[in-house]
């Protein structure tokens, strides 16, 4: 009887345990919510988050999407947002997506629309505009343009393109008559955007009004305000200047956030302008309000500056921070202080400094032994609590006792700001994501995965967490990201100690650490995860081979890392170059390179994107040749000896090559203005390209297949980052599940480089919108042409139609993220792609001491003694090899 009762109790207990564990997902991290998320591996720069601030019990978000800037007001942490239109910039979609606007356009209403005077602010639907037909350039014609656009989008994190005084596209009459009409032209005053002949002449009178950009927003006394900075730019001198700062107030009604001049005292900005401006611009970062004081930090002529503004009086004041501190986070602290997150690149340690605004006194209040290079800070005055984002986690502690700092939740973002909310919630946000996080450590996920990501920049791990959260709420993931070359890894000590605290390591495949793990079998077998096995089977054979050891899958690729010289096929074809003309061997390449300036003379295509790369070009070719040589020897199964006539001859040629004769300069010759010259029309060679398909955007260059000597196959060294599972991990199954998801979250170029089934060309993000816009312009032009009278008018109208046809054609051929030609070229070079599995070059170079360098020094300062260099490489490599025997 007793036994039966005991059995029953055990059964009940077991049932209870089952019930609790099965509901774990539901219990995990209650309150955590992804408010907004944009993929960071496939980033669409049409969207960005500009500002996040607390609004009463909830919060406000100012975000840019589809050409519109909106304020999203969340009444509390659980509610859906009320949307208020702040600005309709319509940069990417001038016709808008609403039916009303569409209809208005199609019926030609826009052509009859009002034409505001130049510089006069339009009520809404304003646009930062470049006059037609220059705007008709495809979004990503070449790498430089694409990068500029990406930078613009990145800058949108804080800087708003909302320009007061510019025109709405809806307000512009695009008809031929209107464009030829003087009054219409006055809407595009000459010189404001483009002078008539495209070049600024001496004595050209530049007339314009200052444009006020609303940079950032804050709440004070329950009202929303914005800081608008008057920015002026003189195209004649190329100088920009700040004309003033205005405070704007926003009225939220009828779905609109109406901007008006704030009824607050004007700032005495002139008093501090000399200290807070840098190169004629002013931007106040990380703004926060403490009482009636607005606090922010900026970069002025003298370095980091803290700026405070008394909102009641408009009085501005500044306080300098030490020049040598690297501020990575900033927030208002208790009792009139600010808190600064600091990262010291020398000691590789992070710390928090409290600085009193009254006397400037600084005190280090917290040091992080293993701090990461990014940090977020916020202080909750109501509960006197400090919240910190560090190393992939949110931490909190009472301000009075920071020794109690404890990790309370995970945060997959690699870098973020923090905004404190009521009831212990915190918003972690950056330009693409807003995450709501509770700060009660007792409700964290029941299983925690730790990822040590040594790529330093790759977003795949971070992105995978978002996918995992949708699938497994009970799993909490902490990512610690660092640069392997900077901080070193913990892998070896972890393995020695059979440490299970890190579940996944992301390492360079060719690095010493990964090789040590591989050689000793310290890599969990991933083959038992069907999804991983399937993913690996879909990869190109040369990648598959690298992922396997003795038939088992030991790692998965998560990114590409190497630095190979890039060749821009598009720029080459622009100057009439054909693939047949391209060199096949390194020797031929150097001959070809010598003659390249002649070939480029008189064209708009440049040799390199950056003229200060005489040294890096030499180093790059040097290491490319050595890598290729190493792989060639490996693949032939020959013993690696560096000092051979073949390698010596090639390196000697590179060493003695006159890169200055190509028009390149050394970095040391940089005149100090740090100008990097990019050619809009592209450059034939680029300093690096990491993948065998080139970079994320078209025109950055792809690897050029070159062989070491005639009769040999070319070799393209591919350097990759891989993720592997700690064999001692207590959550190996979950770690594998995570890695399987990571395969769906690879950066585009990695995805296409790794997977054999990824062969569909990819259009540029803005392709559809651009196409739609061009077609509509063309339709309008066709209508005008039909209406035009025979003669000069008709000819002109038809010329406009033709110009739109050409633009459309160019859009079709050039608006690619990944063009069919690029994919085709990759398919062609596939047999020559080899994963670099051991970086002897780097390993040996790491052991080179000052004395070795002295030994390698050639007679001339720039050159090295190739014979000595190769002997040294051989000697050191022989030692490494002998040690391993």
């Amino acid at each position: 009887m007793k036994n039966q009762t005991r059995k029953k109790v055990i059964l009940w207990l077991a049932a209870l345990v089952l019930l609790v564990t099965s509901c774990a997902t539901a219990f995990a991290s209650p309150g955590d919510r992804t408010i907004r998320h944009a993929s960071s591996v496939d980033w669409n720069y049409n969207e960005s988050i500009d500002s996040v601030f607390r609004m009463g019990d909830g919060f406000g978000v100012i975000a840019y999407e589809d050409g519109k800037q909106n304020l999203m007001k969340y009444a509390d942490t659980e509610s859906e947002p009320e949307k208020y239109l702040l600005r309709d910039n319509h940069y990417y979609d001038p016709f808008g997506e609403t039916e009303e606007t569409e209809e208005a356009q199609m019926t030609g209403e826009a052509a009859e629309g009002t034409e505001p005077e130049a510089g006069e602010p339009a009520d809404e639907a304003e646009i930062q505009f470049e006059a037609k037909p220059e705007t008709a350039e495809p979004a990503a014609e070449d790498g430089a343009a694409a990068e500029e656009k990406q930078e613009d989008a990145e800058a949108a994190d804080g800087e708003q393109p909302a320009v007061e005084g510019l025109l709405s596209l809806d307000d512009i009459d695009w008809s031929d008559e209107a464009l030829n009409d003087e009054s219409a032209q006055s809407a595009f005053p000459e010189g404001e955007y483009y002078p008539a002949d495209g070049e600024f002449q001496e004595g050209f009178q530049y007339e314009h009004e200052t444009s006020y950009y609303t940079q950032n927003w804050f709440m004070w006394n329950g009202e929303l305000y914005g800081i608008a900075v008057g920015q002026d730019w003189n195209p004649t001198t190329g100088e920009q200047s700040v004309e003033g700062v205005k405070l704007k107030h926003y009225k939220l009604e009828d779905g609109k956030a109406t901007e008006e001049d704030a009824d607050l005292p004007e700032w005495d900005y002139d008093k501090v302008s000399g200290e807070v401006e840098s190169y004629g611009s002013f931007y106040l970062n990380d703004i926060c309000v403490a009482g009636d004081t607005l606090i922010g930090q900026t970069w002025g002529a003298g370095g980091n500056v803290i700026m405070t503004v008394d909102l009641k009086t408009g009085s501005c004041s500044t306080m300098n921070m030490s020049m040598d501190v690297n501020v990575i986070a900033f927030t208002a602290g208790p009792e009139g202080s600010v808190l600064l997150g600091i990262y010291d690149w020398n000691t590789q340690k992070g710390s928090i400094i409290r600085k009193n605004l009254s006397d400037g006194k600084e005190e280090t209040i917290k040091e992080f032994e293993n701090g990461s290079q990014s940090m977020g800070l916020c202080y909750d005055a109501e509960t006197d609590t400090l919240y910190v984002f560090q190393s992939g986690e949110l931490w909190k502690a009472p301000m009075a006792d920071l020794t109690k700092l404890e990790a309370v939740n995970d945060c997959p973002l690699t870098d973020c700001h923090l905004t404190v909310l009521p009831k212990g919630f915190v918003l972690a946000w950056n330009s693409s994501n807003i995450l709501l996080r509770n700060t009660d450590p007792s409700v964290r996920g029941t299983t925690m995965l730790h990822v040590e990501d040594n790529t330093g920049y790759n977003q795949t791990m971070s992105e995978t967490v978002f996918s995992l959260n949708e699938k497994r709420g009970d799993l909490s993931v902490v990512i610690r990201q660092q640069y392997e070359w900077m901080s070193g890894t913990n892998v070896l000590t972890d393995m020695m100690n059979k440490d299970s605290s890190t579940d996944i390591y992301v390492l360079p495949y060719e690095g010493t650490d990964f090789n040590a793990l591989k050689k000793r079998g310290y890599l969990a077998d991933l083959s038992d995860n069907a999804e991983i096995a399937d993913c690996v089977n879909r990869m190109y054979p040369y990648i598959q081979d690298a992922m396997k050891q003795d038939g088992k899958i030991i790692c998965v690729p998560v990114g590409l890392s190497g630095q190979t010289m890039g060749f821009n096929y598009k720029a080459w074809s622009k100057i009439g170059g054909t693939e047949e003309e391209l060199p096949k061997t390194w020797d031929e390449f150097l001959d070809w390179l010598e003659k390249l300036p002649e070939r480029l003379a008189g064209t708009e295509v440049k040799l390199t994107q950056d003229e200060y790369m005489a040294d890096s070009m030499s180093g790059m070719l040097f290491s490319n040749i050595v890598y290729e040589y190493q792989i060639m020897k490996d693949s032939k199964g020959e013993e690696l000896v560096f000092n051979t006539p073949l390698l010596k001859k090639l390196l000697d040629r590179v060493n003695n090559f006159d890169f200055r004769a190509l028009g390149l300069k050394s970095w040391t010759e940089n005149d100090g203005d740090n100008t990097v010259y990019y050619s809009e029309n592209g450059a034939v060679l680029s300093p690096y390209t990491t993948s065998p398909m080139g970079q994320e955007y078209e025109g950055y260059g792809e690897p050029m297949p070159l062989s070491l000597e005639e009769g040999e196959d070319p070799i393209i060294p591919v350097q990759i980052y891989v993720a592997c599972v700690n064999p001692f991990s207590e959550h190996a199954a979950e770690a594998k599940e995570f890695l399987a998801l990571a395969m769906d979250n690879l950066e585009m170029i990695a995805r296409y480089s790794f997977f054999a089934d990824q062969t569909e060309p990819l259009r540029d993000f803005s392709y559809e919108q651009q196409k739609k816009m061009y077609e509509k312009y063309r339709d309008l032009a066709v209508k005008d042409a039909e209406k035009a009278e025979e003669g000069e008018e008709k000819i002109q109208a038809e010329a406009i139609v033709k110009s739109w046809d050409e633009d459309l054609e160019r859009l079709e051929t050039e608006s690619w993220r990944l063009s069919p030609e690029r994919i085709e070229r990759y398919q062609k070079i596939l047999p020559f792609c080899k994963v670099l599995d051991h970086d002897f070059q780097r390993e040996v170079q790491n052991t080179i001491t000052a004395q070795d360098a002295q030994l390698m020094g050639g007679e001339e300062d720039d050159n090295i003694n190739i014979e000595n260099f190769l002997n040294l490489m051989d000697q050191k490599m022989q030692m490494i090899r002998d040690e391993g025997k």
Partner: protein, 288 residues
């Protein structure tokens, strides 16, 4: 006697515990690693590692260089420290400044000393300038086989002070009356040295000899700072280089194996030293 022994335990225990935890257990525990294959399953391989490490050319090179460096450095250190200690002992109490000063290099961080050394022995540094001034030619002290000299000098400079202090404490513990009595009996300085000073200083001398060898065996920082993990000059590759490089390759079975082989050699050497000390003491005391 028993009571005295019992009283000693509380004083001995902390030290013994530390020794046991940080040296004893890891030393014994490490034996297991030296007989396994070092892979994740850690399979038992018997003496395979000992055979492969013993036959490894780099281990042999490291061992040979370490032994050579030790056999040069340790006797030099022993002799110099004895001479210096005897000299300082003679000039006391005036030698107080020197007695303190001699310890300074020992207290300085190796990296700081090394920086000075690199400047001194640079091709255009003070040592070469002195050589040129004396009519000689410049020598590349930090590159070729000559790099051993700065390493040896650096080792001596750094470790001399500590050994001098030990010797001096031994010399100072010899009752002055013994020398006075010997002088009255007409004993010469040499006789006093061999009959009084040496027999009474032998236990300390033994300690200094052991320390000299131990420190010489551990020459690494000096070499590493000057020549790196894989010295351009093979003569500078020590056993510590081998072990450090093996550790970086996660080959800790080779690290432990090399350590045990070396430990056996060191024990044998210390055994010889111990026997020499015993027979020296016997000869000096009982030989009469």
């Amino acid at each position: 006697m028993y009571k005295k022994f019992r009283l000693a335990w509380p004083f001995l225990l902390p030290g013994l515990a530390g020794l046991l935890i940080f040296y004893g257990i890891p030393f014994v525990g490490g034996i297991w690693y030296s007989v396994t294959d070092g892979k994740v399953q850690n399979a038992f391989v018997g003496l395979e590692n000992y055979i492969s490490v013993w036959n490894n050319t780099m281990f042999q090179m490291g061992l040979k260089n370490t032994m050579e460096l030790s056999l040069i450095c340790a006797p030099l250190l022993f002799l110099l420290s004895f001479v210096l200690a005897a000299g300082l002992h003679r000039i006391r109490p005036a030698g107080g400044f020197f007695r303190s000063g001699v310890l300074l290099p020992y207290l300085m961080p190796s990296s700081a000393i090394l920086l000075i050394w690199l400047i001194w022995f640079d091709f255009r540094g003070p040592v070469n300038r002195l050589l040129v001034a004396l009519g000689g030619t410049r020598v590349d002290w930090l590159v070729g086989p000559e790099a051993r000299l700065p390493v040896i000098l650096l080792f001596l400079w750094k470790n001399l002070g500590f050994c001098v202090v030990i010797f001096m404490s031994a010399l100072q513990s010899i009752p002055e009356s013994l020398y006075e009595y010997a002088t009255l009996e007409g004993a010469s300085f040499m006789k006093q040295t061999f009959r009084i000073t040496l027999p009474l200083a032998i236990p300390s001398a033994f300690l200094v000899a052991i320390l000299s060898f131990v420190n010489a065996f551990r020459i690494f920082k000096e070499v590493y700072f000057i020549a790196g993990a894989y010295p351009n000059e093979p003569l500078l590759y020590t056993l510590q280089n081998y072990m450090s490089n093996m550790y970086n390759q996660l080959s800790y079975q080779n690290v432990t194996t090399a350590a045990y082989i070396f430990a056996v050699i060191v024990f044998l050497l210390f055994g010889v030293l111990f026997l020499s000390q015993r027979s020296a003491l016997k000869r000096l005391n009982g030989g009469d």
